[in-house]
């Protein structure tokens, strides 16, 4: 079923007798590479003239890190166990509040815990609340479960505004990560140090969640998702499977929340709000719920859209909606699904034959996207007004939206690009089908 499992099977077949560290390195080199790449990434944005890291880049990357832990924990429910939850953010946010209170206790001296382990405190908070809410929610499955989580989500979000003692009301709970209780003697006053901590915790959490998919619980959750009736015959109580899966996903969501408390040093009611849950859902779906790393890819896209594109345009929500619809209609498996579709072709070694067809659809594709964006921005500019206070610019040329030229340009790009795309898509389809048929013939499918 998932390309994930097939790849692992193929891997095992080829590495059957390689012993020791060499085998370990060959299987997991990608993890190491990704870890190192993540640590090196902020240096791309380093300002060499002032010898300063870009605070913006570091915070964005930290946000990607902690949100991907959140999205991966969400996928533990949706992708692994088939439980669609509309209120997952409550576990994230409550973990964050617990971590914030912990940090405040450390600062006040009533408790000693190194800052590095504070996300664990958040995780424990998420675990406890996960058990509490999970007890109620996992009584049911499918739509009833989804609706219960929606109700719980709304309740917790409303309580977060009303009750001061734990939630701090509208101002939230603010905290200070510079407590001086570090295991490594780091102060965490700079964004770079915080980012390293986030990367380490993201790696740990991701590895743990990956391991969990291979435990009996993880397997049973998959089984219950795929065929509920037959899974019951295995002998495990499906309700308990759902409950444990929910609680564990709460633990990891709490870790994400703890990281949020450290990065932003304030936890407010929007961390438990429905919009946060919706972000996890978006990220997981765009990345692809089928593969393990889908939520990670999806989080990158969503955070860049939310925090990046929103700085350039106030129509970014519309782009999210359109991206969503396009993905749902043409790529329901998400980004991971698209990548996995290439796996059989890669196995036959004929992947580079797709480079030219891709280039041929990329050009009209980019053109039509450009036309669409131009038209939307023009419409937004003329109706809502001066967007972001800037004069309308395409690249570096200022353009007056009152004239006909930009409208015609946008319409032409959209329609022309669209027509050309249809033409090229046909050619691409033929080439693709030929390659897939070839892969089938060589037995590289599975």
């Amino acid at each position: 079923m998932s390309a994930d499992a097939t790849q692992r099977a193929a891997q095992r077949a080829t590495l059957v007798a390689a012993p020791g560290f060499a085998a370990f390195a060959r299987r997991y080199w990608l993890w190491f590479a990704a870890f190192v790449a993540a640590l090196l990434l902020p240096w791309l944005f380093f300002d060499w003239s002032t010898h300063r890291h870009s605070g913006f880049a570091l915070t964005m990357l930290s946000e990607i890190g902690l949100m991907s832990v959140f999205a991966l924990s969400f996928n533990m429910q949706m992708g692994q166990a088939g439980l669609l939850s509309f209120g997952h953010a409550i576990l994230f946010g409550l973990g964050g509040y617990v971590a914030a209170h912990t940090l405040n206790a450390i600062k006040a001296g009533t408790m000693w815990l190194p800052v590095e382990l504070v996300p664990l405190a958040g995780g424990l908070g998420g675990l406890v609340f996960g058990a509490l809410f999970g007890y109620v929610a996992t009584q049911q499955r499918a739509t009833a479960f989804a609706m219960i989580t929606m109700g719980l989500g709304e309740l917790v979000a409303a309580c977060a505004l009303m009750f001061m003692a734990f939630f701090g009301g509208e101002g939230g709970i603010s905290t200070d990560r510079v407590t001086g209780t570090s295991l490594l003697g780091v102060s965490y006053s700079s964004s770079w140090e915080v980012y390293c901590l986030v990367v380490v915790w993201t790696a740990i959490a991701t590895m743990a969640m990956r391991l969990q998919t291979q435990t009996p619980l993880g397997r049973m959750a998959n089984a219950a998702r795929d065929n509920f009736e037959r899974a019951q015959f295995v002998g495990y109580d499906p309700r308990m499977v759902r409950f444990y899966q929910f609680t564990l996903s709460g633990f990891f969501a709490g870790i994400g929340g703890g990281l949020y408390a450290i990065v932003y040093e304030i936890v407010t009611f929007d961390t438990v709000a429905a919009s946060k849950s919706a972000t996890a859902l978006l990220a997981t779906y765009i990345g692809g719920a089928g593969g393990f790393f889908g939520p990670l890819l999806g989080t990158i896209v969503v955070v860049l859209l939310q925090s990046g594109v929103s700085l350039l345009s106030n129509a970014w929500l519309l782009y999210v909606g359109v991206l969503f619809i396009v993905m749902v209609m043409y790529a329901p498996g998400g980004l991971v699904g698209i990548i996995a579709q290439h796996a059989p072709i890669a196995r036959t070694g004929r992947l580079r034959e797709l480079v030219v067809p891709y280039a041929r659809i990329l050009v009209p594709g980019v053109l039509s996207v450009f036309g669409f964006v131009l038209l939307i921005e023009l419409a937004s500019f003329t109706t809502i007004g001066v967007a972001q206070g800037k004069a309308f610019k395409i690249g570096f040329h200022a353009v007056d939206p009152a004239t006909a030229f930009p409208w015609l340009l946008g319409a032409a790009a959209l329609i022309g690009g669209g027509a050309w795309l249809r033409l090229e898509a046909r050619g691409f389809r033929t080439r693709w089908d030929a390659l897939i048929a070839d892969a089938k013939a060589k037995g590289a499918m599975l």
Partner: protein
């Protein structure tokens, strides 16, 4: 496998593109970062503010700006999320902007004031001043006060006092209704305290908190209010909670006077409609009829120009005072240096464009300026949002009457 590397490289490229394709701005300007919700359900707040500020800044720049440079507004959409506001702060400090401005949302303000404080102490080379244009929680100039924070709007205790002062002598029974969160709860507390101090003859016959943004039908509340015998309803509600409340009251034909804090914002006039003639009052820093009422022709001409461009009221014209303060302080400091500007700003006195005296109090960085209570009625010179009704000033409270005690113990950096 290799495909996953491709995916990650794509992610890098994407993020690089976004980081480099940031807002294109002119060089040699004094940049003011401005963050508020510009998309989503509260977009109208940020959007209206942005347009008004741009208009005011054009005027300030036409008068020379400060130190030979023009001011430039750089907007950042925070989508009502503190995390996005903090990302905006990071972007602003990366570019060494001297000011960050924020008007809407006490949760965002609470996050910003602490973040600015921490950033300035940890990164002295990229300090920034937090200009608060509308977050009114009292803590920001009391327990949570910060040297880098300057508030230019009256806080909720001051507004509550204005409301209490505006209550006519014949009103002896009032009903309080507020939103159930920090701001609404502090309005509730402050109004009761002000009434006890200024109008001990007034009886509070009802005191209610409603969940924020959840009530769709206020008819049952109107029933309760009527049953209590209240003559006036005092509320800090904003947005749909205010619009629906007043609509329900007017529809029910109840004889009630409404004292609000936000009915004059964008959309309020349209929502209240002609049925609200003479009933609704709002605590405001400005309305377009003040200038003709006091005979200030210059101010009147200036606000009239705005009316011709935009469909909503120029309710934030008072922001001109903010920018004039920034202009004066920057000139006084002699350099675009946040520390010098902050020292120049505190204690500064200024006569605002309506002709009233104002002061930026040194103890807690709270602006003390005049405040008004306007009534929504027919027969005014400038109507609101083309409804035929507009705001007529009923009460004016001078700055010297609005001073409140503060518990702020401000820590100042070394002067430079």
């Amino acid at each position: 496998m290799a495909t996953r590397i491709i995916a990650r490289i794509a992610g890098v490229v994407l993020s690089a593109c976004v980081a480099w394709a940031g807002p294109v701005m002119a060089e040699g300007t004094i940049k003011i970062a401005y963050t508020d919700p510009l998309s989503g359900p509260f977009a109208q707040v940020g959007d209206a503010n942005l347009k008004q500020m741009q208009y005011i800044l054009d005027y300030i720049n036409s008068k020379g700006g400060a130190l030979g440079k023009k001011f430039e507004l750089v907007p950042f959409d925070n989508k009502s999320q503190p995390s996005d506001a903090l990302i905006a702060l990071k972007s602003a400090t990366d570019q060494n902007m001297p000011f960050i401005m924020q008007c809407s949302g006490s949760n965002i303000a609470a996050a910003l004031i602490e973040a600015v404080d921490k950033h300035n102490s940890r990164n002295p080379e990229s300090r920034i001043i937090y200009v608060n244009c509308g977050a009114v929680a009292t803590e920001l100039t009391n327990e949570k006060c910060s040297f880098w924070h300057f508030r230019f709007d009256a806080h909720s205790a001051m507004k509550a006092e204005v409301m209490a002062r505006a209550l006519p002598k014949d009103v002896t029974k009032v009903y309080l209704l507020n939103q159930d969160y920090l701001f609404g709860q502090s309005v509730q507390r402050d109004v009761k305290a002000s009434l006890a101090k200024l109008r001990p003859d007034v009886q509070v016959v009802g005191d209610e908190l409603i969940p924020l943004g959840k009530i769709k039908d206020f008819a049952p509340y109107i029933t309760k209010i009527k049953a209590s015998g209240a003559q006036a309803l005092l509320t800090g509600n904003w947005g749909p909670d205010m619009n629906l409340l007043i609509k329900a009251g007017i529809d029910a034909g109840v004889d009630l006077r409404y004292y609000t804090m936000y009915a004059h914002l964008a959309g309020g006039a349209v929502a209240i409609g002609p049925g609200g003639d003479g009933k609704v009052r709002s605590v405001q820093s400005f309305n377009e009829n003040i200038a003709p009422e006091i005979g200030n022709k210059e101010a009147e001409a200036w606000t009239k120009e705005f009316r011709e461009k935009y469909p909503f009221d120029f309710y934030a014209a008072g922001f001109r005072t903010i920018f004039e303060y920034l202009q004066e302080a920057t000139a006084k400091a002699g350099a675009v240096d946040p520390v010098k500007i902050a020292f120049a700003l505190e204690g500064l006195k200024h006569k605002d464009f309506l002709g009233y005296e104002t002061v930026m109090r040194k103890d807690d960085h709270q602006l003390i300026s005049e405040y008004f209570v306007g009534t929504f009625k027919k027969g005014v010179k400038y109507d609101s949002e083309k409804t035929g009704l507009g705001w007529a000033t009923e009460t004016t409270v001078l700055a010297k009457d609005l001073e409140q005690p503060t518990t702020c113990k401000m820590k100042r950096p070394a002067a430079q």
